[in-house]
Amino acid sequence: MTPLVIDRTSSGATRDRSWEQTSALSATRRNPVITAPLGWNIGHGAWTAVEADPFVDPWFQTDWTATARTEDSVPTHVPRDDDPRSESDEVRWLHEQSGLTWEQLGRLFGVSRRTVHLWANGSGMNATNREALYELVALVRSVQGETPGERRRSLLSPDSSGRSQLDTFRDRRLADEPINRPAAYAAEALDTTLDPAVRES
């Protein structure tokens, strides 16, 4: 499982913010959590963790210290030290820098465009959406492009399988099966392996 990295340095301000995020996320998520301090080389090479979060259930803790990580394995949702921002700031930045509309952002999060706009104005987010926000911010930071329009094109460009980075992002959110399956009725009606009485009922 990919570790969920909350903090990447031991610097005070960032770490304080990260502890809050860690607490919120640890309460709801089962990902292994590494807090700090980590190496400085995120994004540029190997890094290590030297301390696991003592507040996380030991069952979920993973000691990553002994394992050198490469750039590829580093989760991308790490807030930048030099640019501490609130969640609403992050949402505004995302809207301005990604080139995506409120409507598109809403679809990525599974909420209405108005809801994303309210997040940008300080209305609270739940922990899952907060986690997704940082992932998306990091994704936007990582794509090529000097302008929002260029970044938008990069985000929407399909790879060799025809899926864009935003498709992949959304796929993760939709990984669980929906609890209601109205569309399945149509599929069942077309399923010739089913008992005809079932199809016709």
Partner: protein, 305 residues
Amino acid sequence: MTATPGGGPGEAAGAPWLSQGDVFPAISHLPILTAEGVAEHTTPRGVVVITQTCDAIRAVVVAVCPVVQLTGSQVSLASSGRTPRYTPLPLLGEDMFAALDTVASIQTEILSIEDRIRGVGTLVEIREFARAIGRKYARFAFPDDVSAWFKPLRDLAQKRARQPTTAEGVTFGQVQEIRIRADSGWAEPPYDLTISFVMKEKVLPFGVADDDAFGDVRDALARYRSMTSSRLAEVLQAHEDPDDAFLLWSSFARALIERCRAEGPKNVISSYDVEVVDPSQYSLESYRRSEALDLYHLSGPTLAE
């Protein structure tokens, strides 16, 4: 009430004359299995078929519920859908209902020799009857602690249902459905929720069409956040600015949920989003990943009379 002759006896292939919502006034009791054995549940007003019509016409056995006559305030509460264990049978009278808590099976051969009348007539009544049965039996079983967490909202909804002309009552009445999505799954608490207030059609203003025209509303949000839900409802009912109305609605919904957070059990809900959505904007994806919170059906079952 005009009796319709039933089909002939011994139709082994089913009962093509039978429909959901058919009432059999002369069937005066149903068998109920009790600790002492099979007992008779008296049904002096008869029974009504709840099996779906396309199943009933082929069935040898169908499910029926007692028909009951309600009195007093029970009639208005049940008619407005606020006591989901009862659903109206308008062709029998405005105080006549199907009592969905008690169900028994009857052979269609027996029904074929009984007088039959319709309990529902128009397409709307037929659909409403079917929907009420679905609501009763297909609703999602929220974890008990989640139901307890939403109790303050249920209490307020029921209080305002009795005061429909107050600003908060009017405002509450404009909410079509409250849908809950557990973003971290329902496997175990604490849960991470998205709570969507899906409004009735035409309640939310069309508002700003241009996506980029959304402005800075932090000051307005901060102002509304300091108000109670009843005060927000008063302001909302007197307001005309479309964008401001949306902020008021969002603040109203959040104030209601804040009440649950303050009064409900702790360590059940870890965090939540609250959104107010026009039905034209609520996606099928959101619908499939959420469950309706039935404010009038969160408490435990009760025995039908």
